[in-house]
Symmetry: C4
Subunit: 211 residues, 4 copies
Amino acid sequence: MKIGRLQAFSDGVFSILLTLLVLDFKLPAYRDGHLAQAVLNQWPILVAYGLSFFYVGTLWLFHHDYFAKIKETNWQLNVLNLVILFTVTLINYPTSLLAESIAQQQRNDMQFAFSYYALVALLISAMFWVLYRFMAQHHELTGYDQNHERFYQRTKNDPLKSVTIYLVALVGIQINPWLGAVLIIAGNVFHFIAYLRLSQGIEQYGLIKKG
Amino acid sequence: MKIGRLQAFSDGVFSILLTLLVLDFKLPAYRDGHLAQAVLNQWPILVAYGLSFFYVGTLWLFHHDYFAKIKETNWQLNVLNLVILFTVTLINYPTSLLAESIAQQQRNDMQFAFSYYALVALLISAMFWVLYRFMAQHHELTGYDQNHERFYQRTKNDPLKSVTIYLVALVGIQINPWLGAVLIIAGNVFHFIAYLRLSQGIEQYGLIKKG
Amino acid sequence: MKIGRLQAFSDGVFSILLTLLVLDFKLPAYRDGHLAQAVLNQWPILVAYGLSFFYVGTLWLFHHDYFAKIKETNWQLNVLNLVILFTVTLINYPTSLLAESIAQQQRNDMQFAFSYYALVALLISAMFWVLYRFMAQHHELTGYDQNHERFYQRTKNDPLKSVTIYLVALVGIQINPWLGAVLIIAGNVFHFIAYLRLSQGIEQYGLIKKG
Amino acid sequence: MKIGRLQAFSDGVFSILLTLLVLDFKLPAYRDGHLAQAVLNQWPILVAYGLSFFYVGTLWLFHHDYFAKIKETNWQLNVLNLVILFTVTLINYPTSLLAESIAQQQRNDMQFAFSYYALVALLISAMFWVLYRFMAQHHELTGYDQNHERFYQRTKNDPLKSVTIYLVALVGIQINPWLGAVLIIAGNVFHFIAYLRLSQGIEQYGLIKKG
């Protein structure tokens, strides 16, 4: 089967998830004439929204480029993609918890919210690791050749590195929530770098034209 | 008319419905420093979300593969597809009721919520049965041949089996809600198996290439 | 410019609007053990949802078939399509008002809600009339020929008939809200019939192949 | 990489954002029999919705035509497009604030809401300016020639003009919120005119066929 509808469906889920995140911005209770102060106090929502938008956005970029070199799909890949999308949609809720707990500045609650976020991020990266492994074993879906192999060797450990970052973040959060926050952001930056490597690798090895 | 826009529109509805389900996760009332406990008490939402995500996801997989062998659409198929999508969107509300009633652990309410869920699932399967029947009578839309016929004979009773499972579930729920829950999950597992059979059948009989 | 992205964008708006309508189903206040009664009392939501799902669904069917015979777009058609989509999205709110006012059974409120609904439906039909007129004057977008002309002559008054039905409905609602409700449903049925005529006309005159 | 999925993803975000705006219409508190008055008092929601629908709709038109002349994408354009979409989604919240503050008629709150709206609009235009600059330097993505150059020279300052309008609006709002409102609308009208110039320029210079 062609990969087209899998891509379209995934694009749908990613774009809806990104856009639903804006629903976290809700009119605050405020006194007449003090709307500005009430909205500015909502800065944690903007921070959490920005973080998750770029995280999910990067995941979409990644998904976009990664599937660009795949020609065919089968039921296993369909199911695997569905599980990946499931884990990605889970990020929506901890995004709200993040904003809420930062606004309240309660340490325990921040630790919980950050841990939840890191755990979902860890799950997402773990699922991408499964995807990498699966694609390495199903050459019939990509028109696998030496270039694919070289590319795979270069990038195959990226998801495990992400998993490790989020594991460290989970530990760090228990020590100090802000240390955990820095590690979560580091994880997102790492995803972005991994995306750049993926994108450049695909071009360098000519995987789309040859694939 | 080409089948492309019908697929795109259906992909849209499926992906939006899946993603809207995350809106069921709502910030609970909680005391400062006890966010973790309040969120962990929301486990029924996660369970209901997981169940419906995989149910609707499987329906999408099914829809994806089933329509992959169809080349053309006409007004009847357009309308039939719309009715199917209508029944699928109805699952959103009983998913919330499921989570709510499990959280409250009130037997009557659980029986009602589970029955509602099973009833919608039954309706969806019944509509797929109508779709199977319709496609068997409109060979002009698929480029029907002996392989299509053999495939149809092998799979034609799948939707009726699903309907039967949900009928049994409806009875079971009245005896014990958890018995009904097991039967609903059995129904979802059966859908997944039916999807695998569909996917393999399409490949085995070469329905997409020849269709 | 190709018509493809206009169709994809419109499919997006239609499918999101349809699916957002399910958000009208909200957990009611209820006493423990009486969830069933509370949900069954929400039947007006189901009625309003069913009505609007099939109305918007029929509009999508219509849009689907109508644009299937168009090959190119220009800025005027892009803008016109955007205005049509704007009027269609407006149906979401009177759908909620419909459900609310039927639930409360307050005559004045029902008259207002039904009038709002009929007014938006009237606007939508009026915009489709503008679309018909526009397409009749821009033959370069369709590869216009005698068959297009014959088809146009046969269907050109359909939107004005719809406008008339909704005008009558607006008057009828002031006499008796239920009379208005019947006329609104009549309008929706008329849309469906107009869709069938459109679909058959396109096939009969071979507008897609020749267009 | 082909530009197709970037367009599909962007169409998704635009169409979802447009449709989510309808969620601002919420059932007001009202006394039995006075629903009409309560809903009519919500006119600021309709005004804000209309404004943002046409603003975001125009941005989509613009995006549609602008990317129609681009053939390929690379990681920089993917990221840039994501940042543009991020800024566009931010318009959702000030749209709600606009409606709320106009309804309350409190001058300070209106100034804040209008300023927020103008600031997001300014950001969006600034990002489009970055896009224009980027495309002028990456001819390999469009099949750049003399016509592209002429077209670029003619339109290159459009985003800066928009930025200027919104800067003036930001100042104007501090003097009188309604003056600011007029300038925001002027900005939207300017976008629409810029879109028309873009659309006509693309046709005149034959950028899509040659591109």
